[in-house]
Symmetry: C3
Subunit: 341 residues, 3 copies
Amino acid sequence: MYLKNAWYCVSWDKDLKDQPLGIKILGQKLLIFRKQDGSVAALDAVCPHRYAPLHKGRLENDILQCPYHGLEFNSEGRCTLNPHGDVIPPNANLRSYPAVVQNLAVWVWMGDPDKADPSLLLEEQDWTSSDKFARGYGYTHVRGNYQLAIDNLLDLTHGPYVHVGGFGQEPRKMGLKYPMNHEFFVEDRKVHSRYYRENWRTNLFFRPFFPHDYCDQTTFMCLHQPSNLTLDITVLEVGAENGLPSEFIAPSFHFITPETETTAHYFYAAGHNKLIDDKTVTAKMMEGVRVAFEDEDEVMIRDVQEAMESTDLLSLKPAILESDIAGVTARKMLAKMIAEE
Amino acid sequence: MYLKNAWYCVSWDKDLKDQPLGIKILGQKLLIFRKQDGSVAALDAVCPHRYAPLHKGRLENDILQCPYHGLEFNSEGRCTLNPHGDVIPPNANLRSYPAVVQNLAVWVWMGDPDKADPSLLLEEQDWTSSDKFARGYGYTHVRGNYQLAIDNLLDLTHGPYVHVGGFGQEPRKMGLKYPMNHEFFVEDRKVHSRYYRENWRTNLFFRPFFPHDYCDQTTFMCLHQPSNLTLDITVLEVGAENGLPSEFIAPSFHFITPETETTAHYFYAAGHNKLIDDKTVTAKMMEGVRVAFEDEDEVMIRDVQEAMESTDLLSLKPAILESDIAGVTARKMLAKMIAEE
Amino acid sequence: MYLKNAWYCVSWDKDLKDQPLGIKILGQKLLIFRKQDGSVAALDAVCPHRYAPLHKGRLENDILQCPYHGLEFNSEGRCTLNPHGDVIPPNANLRSYPAVVQNLAVWVWMGDPDKADPSLLLEEQDWTSSDKFARGYGYTHVRGNYQLAIDNLLDLTHGPYVHVGGFGQEPRKMGLKYPMNHEFFVEDRKVHSRYYRENWRTNLFFRPFFPHDYCDQTTFMCLHQPSNLTLDITVLEVGAENGLPSEFIAPSFHFITPETETTAHYFYAAGHNKLIDDKTVTAKMMEGVRVAFEDEDEVMIRDVQEAMESTDLLSLKPAILESDIAGVTARKMLAKMIAEE
């Protein structure tokens, strides 16, 4: 069902402050907190004594107090105090998970701790720290299996049907074909899905940043298995080479973390290299992204999940189109990785 | 569970305009739309590509566009366009269902299309088009198995207990018997349940149409298997023959369509042959009907469904009264028809 | 799952007036009503004819009328009238249950009626009728297995973690032990859990009744199997003997009745022997109790129930502390009683 030996996003780094965070991922309740040295601890979130929700407890000096009977735990999950007696039972400890910060996000390794491999993290992206970019963040709870959210991102042909609102795409005339210049390839644990459009009407969503009616647009989507995607959009003047001052670059993250079999967390962030000092512009862009993901994609994914009555798309033998190649390949790759694990 | 080779009501004719309608019946998601020639198409409502809800798609020139990736389907369910490539997979077509308009309603045949038999439709009723009648319409979602709604209609002894509100019936004094003059018979696929009352206090609900304190009332209920009922009420002056100018006639439809095992659609319409030009009177009558069905019957049916914890009433071995004869007979008839199918 | 041969609380005596009461206990829908002689009848709440909710019916002269078709039942559950025919089927009667009033509450015996034993009722407590006490009442619906509510009461070490609000307890400093002087013993069907504190800072909750900064406090909790608890708190001046005029006594009831496997009814009442003529003080005390039980305990129990994903705590092999002795003993006792039954 899930690949365990992998890094999953549980929070934006900036959102993990002095309160512990409770989150369910891969069907397990986890507790995340910031340690005094700035690093992050990830522990099982349920007290082994009476199953209380530990993320509702007090956190002081890297020690967490259970909100029910006051057992205390350190950042490795060891029970350090039973306030009511002399004995700490050997099964009163919490499982801990490797956790790191990278690419603006907090990541947890859900499999064998000895196999936790930092090289499997998405490599640090320049735009996350560059002063040439402004950045915004968001989160959407998805009422569908995480692979539906991945499919949705790997096949962007849905844009002009689903995103007439948030991304301001023009709806398609019926009865016509709209082939896209699409490139697809697999590399290690990555699935690339790239779209090229030349002399294309500039998307309304990009107009504040790129004031030309027509453009050449490149859209690079990459899935880093099992469930984290990067999307890099570049908008150029028609026929221009990359690197001109007018070039608009919008990189983004789409980190999907399974919550249960039929729900997922969707952490997204986006940057832009124009109008970077105008916070209103960034806020407006992120509101468009929120509408697109929350009011448009998520509603579709929820409808699909409900209609499927399953989490295994391929077992339903759907009609498969050429445009499904990235999504189907990603599903088969992941199924193989899970089976090998 | 359901009789498949039968016509089920999915909408009032007047309510099916230029937007496609999504409705679940017999556990299946259907899509209904009006064709340009005025006839009706009924298709499976889930896209065979990615399980998107097709009733949320665009409809133009009898072609429906999937709201997710834009596949197009004609009114027979054939996929006519894949906008993103050259191939339309053979399994990209939708199942279609025979659909017709009759008696103010849209009907769908859920079984073998080759067996779709117009003679099994409820025969056209005069009052639906006569200028001697005014008409009103309604719909209630029922949180109970469809057979509970049928039972409720076939045994009208519940009136003075359940309908003290909407139908303004006088509650019964406790400790007394209230035998009704009841006639019951079966004819082909029909179950008739008829009640006669002579020199009876006129129901408050009928007073605007029939301004006499006492009346002779005949109440003819007929189930057309599997789940569509007609109710014809006639109110006469005491001892009068049918046909006097003061005769009040109120025919009505009660079309029940199973949605799931424990929910149903209830389409109702009613006519009246007095004050037919006063829309306020019709509206007030229909509001009384709505209160009776939605706030009184439906709440009772929901409570009963919850208490039964089953959909098979007879298997629970309930106490059976003489007044249950029509309902029990109808259940046994339908069980036999389903078994034969 | 449940002990059947036992008395369960279904209502406060004062709350059972002239309307019948419907309540689900031990998974069964019951109907309770007050008879004209002041005693109480308890019957199955579902009509054997068509599964209608009888507690919504009319009650006159100890006769209950079904709200669907008007069948009438007497207080022993016998069907006394079928208003629509001559025959009352033999299976049209309702099961009745022994029911009595004691300790301000209405009690129903859910097992074999021949074994209904008044001596198994909680013995009448003086404070329920004494003019030396004022009294208040409450009810909370608990979204957890009834045994979680019992555990919560038998181990009061949770107070300073959970009840910083309603009971105004001071939160504990982290890193320190807080051993309590605890006495535990079993006696017949009772489990006693007693706490003694000397020279203790007076709880804010008791200050209106006991205006001293420090006190000796005794807290006697007793479970009467299967699920009814008494709690007697006495607050004395430091070093004083019982019986001084300043002695503050707060007895209370905590009657837990299983509703379903994962929900319970919690009826609570409390008395106080100071300021007994000031209804504002009683109301304020009961509001503090309500906050503690409803907003604090109940939320914790719900979280625990959800995290356990089971109703059998011990089968999960939790970490067990010395402070769990009363709860664990009570669970083992009850499991044995249920197995013997």
